[in-house]
């Protein structure tokens, strides 16, 4: 196993972030009050990783004994993770100060989780996926409980850890079965032997368990139960990270394992299962979100519904579907980042103030924040010309092309239902009023993060074609 220069260049986003993590560790132990510089350090580091991923878009390389792939679609994911996390680091700076958890370790954990995501998205081997997943998840467990003086945060971390390990157990079991059936965990081996494997119960059961393990991570019904509690309990900036890039990483794993397998044989054996997961997630998420009073919880359910929409693209499984899912992930990432960023601004010192009633009359008290929030809600509910609309559009289109119009119809119905709770926030902000004073002093960094997200939402809504073309060009 030797590295060529080309390999090293192709790997540079991953290497850079690895070196960056070590650097943050060193800074953290050597510099007093390191947390003050670590935030911007993390931001700049992630931004440069994002930049590197983009310019290396056509540097395809297979490294680490053919266990890791870079370039093309993988780099799109690299970009999404690092850029999303960069925005999260912007949103975090003031928030963690406010929440009293201003420690340098926060950023170390954040960077480590991003490295884990990158390992998932570039893997060509199940073991690599598993290592990446664990690295990401462990960081998330820690981050979810980062606010250790807050009961809810601890509860969230514990629940997430318990159920997450439970799901990982199934996933590893699935890997075991796959290994038993194939004799290897390399995806290329699976593709070679797919003709015989596709009738093997061992292999199919293994794959099913693998899918279920990741369904847990993407929060698809019925493996979603942890989501509302964890999203609500975890610090808001952490929720922003988990619900966006974390979900994207899990989707990238699903795309990786399906991509070669389904290329070999279509229709997929798992299409019915994924369709059912999609339908359940969309409807359950949208319907239950209606009766929530807490904004973070509402967004948690909405994220379940969004996972359902994206699963449509996987169920359809054609090129449009996959690129639609990637587009959707990017759109969803920045919509949610904007939403959670705004919530973290409005949240009070004691971490209360995320209920709908706290937003009464915000449109008059904080016109800028309320305006951005309204825009984000419109985008989330899929109203053109924002990113959310085109995400849904591409995904539904792929379902129709795959002959699963019914799935698209369910999606549309669910979208209609979801409009209710998104617009409810706007109604509360602009049509209700209360005498309570909302004191918010938006920090520059957080506003910068929110503005970047909102700008991307608008750009993706106005010029979706160029972005979908970019994604398509990586196939």
């Amino acid at each position: 196993m030797t590295f060529t220069v080309h390999d090293l260049i192709s790997l540079s986003p991953v290497l850079l972030i690895g070196v960056g993590i070590l650097a943050t560790l060193i800074i953290e132990m050597l510099v007093k009050e390191s947390e003050k510089i670590l935030g911007w350090f993390t931001f700049v580091l992630l931004l440069s990783v994002a930049y590197l991923s983009l310019i290396l878009l056509d540097h395809t390389a297979l490294v680490f004994e053919d266990k890791f792939l870079t370039g093309g679609r993988v780099n799109i994911f690299f970009f999404l993770f690092s850029f999303g996390a960069a925005v999260v680091s912007l949103l975090s700076m003031e928030y963690i100060k406010k929440a009293g958890i201003h420690f340098g370790e926060y950023y170390i954990m954040l960077l480590s989780s991003v490295l884990g995501m990158m390992l998932i998205s570039g893997a060509t081997d199940f073991i690599m996926i598993f290592i990446g997943l664990e690295q990401m998840s462990v960081c998330f467990y820690v981050l979810a409980g980062f606010n250790r003086r807050n009961e809810r945060s601890l509860e969230a971390a514990l629940k997430y850890f318990l159920l997450g390990s439970f799901a990982t157990g199934f996933l590893v079991f699935g890997l075991g079965l796959i290994y038993g059936a194939v004799g290897s965990l390399s995806i290329t081996e699976i593709v070679i032997g797919y003709e015989t494997l596709k009738t093997s119960p061992l292999f199919l059961t293994g794959t099913l368990l693998f899918i279920i393990g990741f369904s847990f991570k993407i929060a698809a019904v019925p493996f979603h139960m942890w989501v509302p509690d964890v999203y609500q309990g975890a610090p808001t900036s952490v929720t922003a990270l988990m619900s966006t890039t974390g979900k994207a990483a899990a989707f990238s794993a699903l795309i990786i394992i399906f991509s070669p397998i389904i290329q070999a044989a279509y229709p997929s054996f798992f299409t019915p299962v994924i369709s059912v997961l999609a339908v359940l997630s969309m409807l359950y998420g949208s319907i239950v979100a209606i009766s929530q009073n807490d904004l973070k919880r509402m967004l948690a359910y909405s994220s379940i519904a969004h996972a359902g929409y994206m699963l449509i693209g996987l169920a359809a499984w054609n090129e449009k579907g996959v690129s639609g899912v990637i587009f959707y992930l990017v759109a969803y990432t920045f919509m949610n980042l904007a939403a959670f960023g705004l919530i973290s601004l409005i949240e009070k010192r004691d971490l209360r103030g995320t209920e709908f009633s706290d937003y009464k009359g915000l449109g008059f008290k904080q016109p800028v924040l309320a305006g951005l929030m309204a825009l984000t809600m419109f985008a989330l509910s899929g109203i053109p010309p924002f990113a959310g609309f085109f995400g849904k559009y591409y995904v539904f289109l792929s379902a129709i092309e795959a002959g699963m119009t019914w799935l698209a119809i369910v999606g549309v119905i669910s979208s209609v239902i979801s409009v209710y709770f998104y617009l409810r926030l706007i109604v509360v902000m602009y049509f209700d009023n209360s005498d309570e004073i909302v004191m918010v002093t938006p920090s520059t960094s957080a506003m910068l993060g929110i503005m970047i997200s909102v700008l991307l939402i608008i750009i993706m809504g106005v010029a979706p074609g160029s972005i979908i073309n970019l994604i398509n060009s990586t196939f």
């Binding site: 318990l162 159920l163 119960p201 054996f269 319907i287 009766s291 239902i417």
Partner: protein
Amino acid sequence: MIDLIYLTVLLPLIGFAINGLLGPKIKNEKVIGVIGSGAVGISFLISLGIFFELLGKPAAERHFIVNLFQWIKVDYLNIPIGYQVDPLSILMALVVTGVGFVIHVYSIGYMHGDKGFWRFFAYLNLFIFAMMNLILADNFVLLFLGWEGVGLCSYLLIGFWYDRKFENSTTADAAKKAFVVNRIGDFGFLIGMFIIYLTFNSLRFEEVFAQVKLGGIPESTFNMIALFLFIGATGKSAQIPLYVWLPDAMAGPTPVSALIHAATMVTAGVYMVARTSVIYASAPTIMMVVAVVGLLTAIFAASIGLVQNDIKKVLAYSTVSQLGYMFLAMGVGAFTAGIFHVMTHAFFKALLFLAAGSVIHGMHEEQNIQKYGGLKKYMPVTYLTFLTGAIAISGIPPFSGFFSKDEILWYSYANAGFAFWLVGAITAMLTAFYMFRLYSLTFEGEGRFDHHHVHPHESPKVMTVPLIVLAILSVIGGFIGIPEIFSGSGGNQIKNWLDPVFKPANSLLAKHGAHSHFEEILLMAVSVAAAAGAIYFARFVYLKRKDIAESASLKFPGLYRLLFNKYLIDEAYDKAIISPIVKVSDGFLWKFTDVKIIDGLVNKTASLIESFASQIRKMQTGVAQFYAVIMVLGIVIAFFWIMASL
């Protein structure tokens, strides 16, 4: 230079952005006025430069397409933002930016002190932007964008003084009327576009026209396309039956009436027919329809103009009538003559409107000509320029109106027959009559206004200079189109200029037999004599023997009232179309369908889902063990399902 064509579109947009966004902050009227006029003025200079560059090229090479960027791309539908530079579009661009610039300058004086000064200039610039898109577009969709854009600006500017009364209602109502009537026409235009796309799989002029020339498409298809496009044109260019909005559009400030509702926007329909002349030439039946509608509109509107008392109303009906001429020209295949008339009409009608504005300005917002009289000694410049315009529109040689109108009349005789010429000539006579009725009542005779309260005065320089410029253009503008019988073969400059554009259409049209020069000169003489006679008669009646006019109106009270009330067309539309629609909308669609069925259904569904949601949210107990149980259940079900389907 030709690549800079986009600047002529962009500059007004920038002007609009600056004045629209920063206008309330700038406050200084001079700055706003200079920005607004400057944007259009530079556009004019660029158009002029491009014009001379085209002039330097051989006739066959005067066609360029400047592609800016891809706009819409869905499957086969490929719409670029691209501008077409050819003799027709650059001529129109010159007229729009040139006349537009003059009117912008005039507005600085006219709108002085208005609280919406910045808004006015922002709208005007937006209008120029949309109009330039319309005439420079190289495809139907971009043309339609401009088409709708000018409609929007027209709406905004008619209702500019939204808080003022206008006749029996408000200016906002007049604006709404213009908008709705235009929408009806736009609907036709859209359908025409759909059929074009269906037939030719493209909406770009070049591709569509190339396929038309190839042939192989049945005439019925062309008839449909041409008819629907013409419906669009009748809306925008105020032809029967959709002309009713234009007289009401006079609710806007007078410069708007001059720019939008006389010189430029209303000729968009004519321009569109000229642009698609190949399609019309392939649909002779519809050409005849166009000619007849144009002719009827011309005489119909002219007859209403005879008895109106509002100075702007008379001019408005005159505009409708002149637009009828232009469509007559299009219908009989005299495309060049039609565009020629568009140009000369832009000069003298803008002049007449601006002069009328000057009069209204000097008479403290009084618009009734019965309350004018003898103004020529108070406002000499306005008087002289108005007189120039009136002579020009009446078709007295060598003023510009003579050349273009005579060209149209000659072609309607040569291509369509004597009856068309006769009606056209009578219309010309009526035109001369009402114009000089207007002129005499306004400027000559005794003052009929209240001398104690009203002190007529000449307008400031910023208003009179534009008048003079337009007056000069009205006089000499016709010389570029001197008929070939006077100037020799190939001496008609505008014809030579526009020939490459209309060549394909002309080659499709059947040639008529040759006519002698004697016929042409005879007809010309007759129509000029008729116009001159009408002028003399009008002066005689309204200056010396006012009793004739009064006794005539007493003698034929029915006819007079019919004309005065504009044939009661507005009332008929109201009874036959508007009130039934309002009734159905109110009683059935709103109070029953909307409230009972749609709202009821929506509310029921919503409350059902909400109660459902509040039930299943109870599943979220908060107990982690229970969550695990749900997960396991899901896994077990999936597992058995997979096993069963093996």
